[in-house]
């Protein structure tokens, strides 16, 4: 590129320049630093405010906010176990369904697919991340929900002997935990798959070739060398997907059924932390305890996502450690591609 285009006023060294000529540099540095400080201050203010607003509810209810089962607005009691459990159930379903498919897709794209299709396939899977969550909600309400209802009923009836998974039978309706979890699985698939692909690409070729040289089949090679090497990174990717699933609001609120009770089987209606905030914030605006409870729900949500994300990034860094180049950090590249694919 045009490095020579930067010849300034013909002056040679920085020390020889007049103070006035040095001013723009100082202004730039001061300005950018100030900006970074302001942004940091904004983020800090956000957390302080979040904690401050939730303190009323948390003080009043203590641990029952998370473990008590009684979300009752009319009596001003906010024990949010149904919300926490609903969040955990739907996220678990999303992980169980989404991660194996995402890893399998990543394996296929990096190891087995004919080279010329790799880019296109990868891009197609990534496109899943571009669909807005409200569109997933629309599709879930009118397409996926009704179409899967007969299958769900059959499943519940056939496997009714298994606790939680079966049972419910004929009273199943389209909005339920399972559909919410399934939609979440689709939404986290691109993230997990993108990270898995990055991680799988860092497996040293020597390891793979050594296994092949010893006579392993393709699948044995993958199982013996690629997967163990990539496991930490893939776990990290799965956890980033989990973080996304926990915080997802709009798609969930449309398909989960909005029932503030703890469901007893997979196809029950339920509720989630994010959904309750979206549904109740408006009416809570002028009710101090209610709005504090919603902030507390937001805080719980945020802490959960934070923990999961910290763990995730630690795993991802461990997983991509092998390929750190002097000036680039592919761990960052992985997280940045994740960020742009839409983690939050």
């Amino acid at each position: 590129m045009e490095a020579s285009a930067t010849t300034a006023t013909g002056v040679r060294s920085r020390l020889e320049r007049t103070p006035a000529a040095r001013l723009p540099d100082q202004v730039l540095q001061a300005g950018l630093t100030t900006l970074a400080v302001l942004i940091l201050g904004l983020i800090a203010y956000f957390f302080v405010r979040l904690i401050g607003q939730s303190s009323d509810a948390l003080n009043k209810f203590g641990f029952s906010f998370i473990f008590g089962n009684d979300w009752d607005i009319s009596r001003n009691i906010y024990h949010g176990a149904p919300l926490v459990i609903g969040t955990l159930i739907t996220s678990a379903i999303a992980l169980i369904i989404g991660v194996p498919v995402a890893v399998a897709t990543a394996l296929y794209v990096t190891e087995l697919c004919p080279r010329r299709f790799r880019g296109a396939l990868g891009m197609l899977v990534d496109l899943l991340a571009a669909v807005p969550s409200v569109v997933y909600g629309l599709w879930g309400v009118f397409v996926l929900g009704p179409k899967l209802l007969p299958v769900e009923k059959w499943f519940a009836n056939t496997f009714s002997f298994i606790p939680f998974v079966g049972g419910g039978g004929s009273s199943i309706t389209a909005p339920n935990y399972f559909i919410a979890g399934l939609i979440l699985a689709i939404m986290i698939l691109p993230i997990v798959s993108a990270i898995a692909r990055e991680v799988l690409a860092t497996v040293p070729a020597e390891n793979k070739e050594a296994a092949l040289a010893l006579g392993a089949t393709r699948w044995e090679m993958i199982r013996m060398t690629v997967l163990p090497y990539a496991r930490p990174g893939i776990t990290g990717g799965a956890m980033l997907g989990l973080g996304r699933a926990i915080g997802e609001t709009i798609a969930v609120v449309l398909v989960i059924g909005n029932a503030a009770t703890i469901g007893h089987h997979l196809f029950n209606q339920g509720y989630s932390l994010a959904a309750v905030i979206a549904n109740e914030f408006n009416e809570a605006a002028n009710q101090p305890l209610h709005s504090s409870a919603l902030f507390a729900a937001g805080l719980v949500l945020f802490v959960l996502t934070l923990l999961v994300n910290i763990l995730a990034r630690w795993f991802v860094r461990r997983g991509t450690r092998g390929m750190r180049a002097p000036e680039t950090d592919s761990g960052d590249a992985a997280s940045a591609s994740v960020a742009s694919a839409g983690v939050a």
Binding site: P24, V27, L28, G31, L32, L35, D70, W71, D72, I73, S74, R75, P146, S170, S171, T173, A174, P175, G257, N258, A259, A260, T261, Q269, N279, E280, N282, E283, A284, A285, N286, Q287
Partner: protein, 387 residues
């Protein structure tokens, strides 16, 4: 020179272009919007009363309101009628509870609320507030059951048991005993209720509390109650959509929504022991017998009138007595509010009733409309009466 400007200018090529384009289009758009929307206003089932409201010339302004979805069809229709005269009414159906909350934080100019104001509500307001009853709507018990067209009879205790989950299938003996001769399927009952704070819920649960002591002690009445069973949906439209999509579902929706979607609804036993279907006459019967307190906070649930449909809800427009004070709203908004309210109890009433073009709500009895008008004259703007 500002270092940020330098960084910004170069990056902003594409964004600046699209921003300019967006603003240009929007500028064209907003200048066209008044002409196209007045065309839209005439194209609906809106009555010709927009032309006939010669006595109520409205003051041009933009009013923002929010609240009851029971009354949403009314305010949307009126907004559509009045747009041609320069009064823009934006009404967001967020439920009565959220509407009152919005008024308390003064993020809206008026609230639609079905239940009358409680002392806790008025205490949290930013000033004295006035409530004006504007119409009455029947809360139907709508169901989606193949083969059962109409004529299903239900009484209070049975309804309470259905909505609390004690009765689980349509062919339950309790329902059968009220409907001999009707062959009811064994479909499971799916209860659909509101997930947001709702005046419709308040009306329905007040009725259930009146007729079932068991309901009253375990669940009670209110805008939000803890439903032991069922799916939650937001707004009247959400409940209607959920009922429509689920076989065997039953939910409580205002009549306009039931009619719009071709729902079948039940005839409910009233306080005189008769099974009444929700019609405009039966809804008006509830309105006619009501006692009116000084602050106009009426309630028509479980009306004692012999022919009244038992689950009739009133709906109020709630505003601040002095909307201008403390800078909550401008003078033009206050004037617009007053003229909107005058329209509401005046020419707007002609859009309600039975008959092809009208909205399925019962209009105000003339005595009540007169009381509304009297209260309207007490509105002020920064202390002086609004012209």
């Amino acid at each position: 020179m500002n270092k940020e400007t330098k960084v910004r200018t170069k990056r902003l090529g594409g964004v600046a272009v699209s921003l300019a384009a967006a603003l240009a289009i929007a500028a064209c758009g907003s200048s066209n919007s008044s002409s196209s929307s007045s065309a839209g206003g005439g194209g609906s089932t809106g009555t010709s009363s927009s032309g006939g409201s010669s006595s109520a010339a409205v003051s041009p302004a933009t009013l923002n309101g929010a609240g009851s979805t029971l009354a949403l069809p009314i305010y949307q229709q009126w907004g559509s009628n009045l747009k041609g005269q320069g009064l823009t009414v934006n009404y967001n159906g967020v439920g009565s509870g959220a509407g009152i909350a919005d008024l308390q934080t003064a993020t809206v100019d008026f609230a639609g609320s079905d239940p009358a104001l409680k002392p806790t509500d008025t205490k949290a307001m930013k000033g004295p507030a006035l409530q004006f009853p504007v119409a009455f709507g029947a809360i139907t018990v709508s169901y989606n059951l193949l083969g059962i067209k109409s004529g299903l009879k239900l009484d209070g205790p049975t309804l309470a048991n259905i909505f609390s989950g004690k009765i689980k299938t349509w062919n339950d003996p309790a329902i059968k005993s009220l409907n001999p001769g009707m062959s009811l399927p064994s479909t499971a009952i799916t209860v659909v209720h509101r997930s947001d704070s709702s005046g419709t819920t308040n009306g329905f649960t007040t009725y259930l509390s009146d007729v079932s002591p068991g309901w009253k002690s375990s669940i009670g009445a209110g805008k939000d109650v803890k439903w032991p069973t069922g799916t939650g949906a937001a707004k009247n439209s959400g409940v209607a959509a959920a009922v429509k999509q689920t076989q065997g579902a039953v939910g409580y929706v205002e009549q306009a929504y039931a009619i719009e979607n071709g729902f079948t609804y039940a005839a409910v036993k009233n306080s005189s022991g008769k099974y009444i279907e929700p019609t405009i006459e039966n809804t008006s019967a509830a309105a006619n017998g009501v006692t009116v307190p000084a602050d106009l906070g009426i309630s028509t649930i479980n009306s004692p009138s012999a022919d009244a449909y038992p689950i009739v809800s009133q709906t109020f427009l709630v505003v601040y007595k002095d909307p201008c004070k403390d800078g909550k709203a401008s003078t033009s908004v206050a004037k617009g509010l007053k003229s909107f309210l005058a329209y509401a109890f005046g020419a707007g009433q002609q859009t309600l009733g039975s008959g092809g073009n009208k909205l399925p709500y019962a209009p105000l009895p003339s005595s009540l409309a007169a009381k509304d008008n009297t209260q309207l004259q007490t509105m002020t703007c920064n202390g002086s009466p609004i012209s």
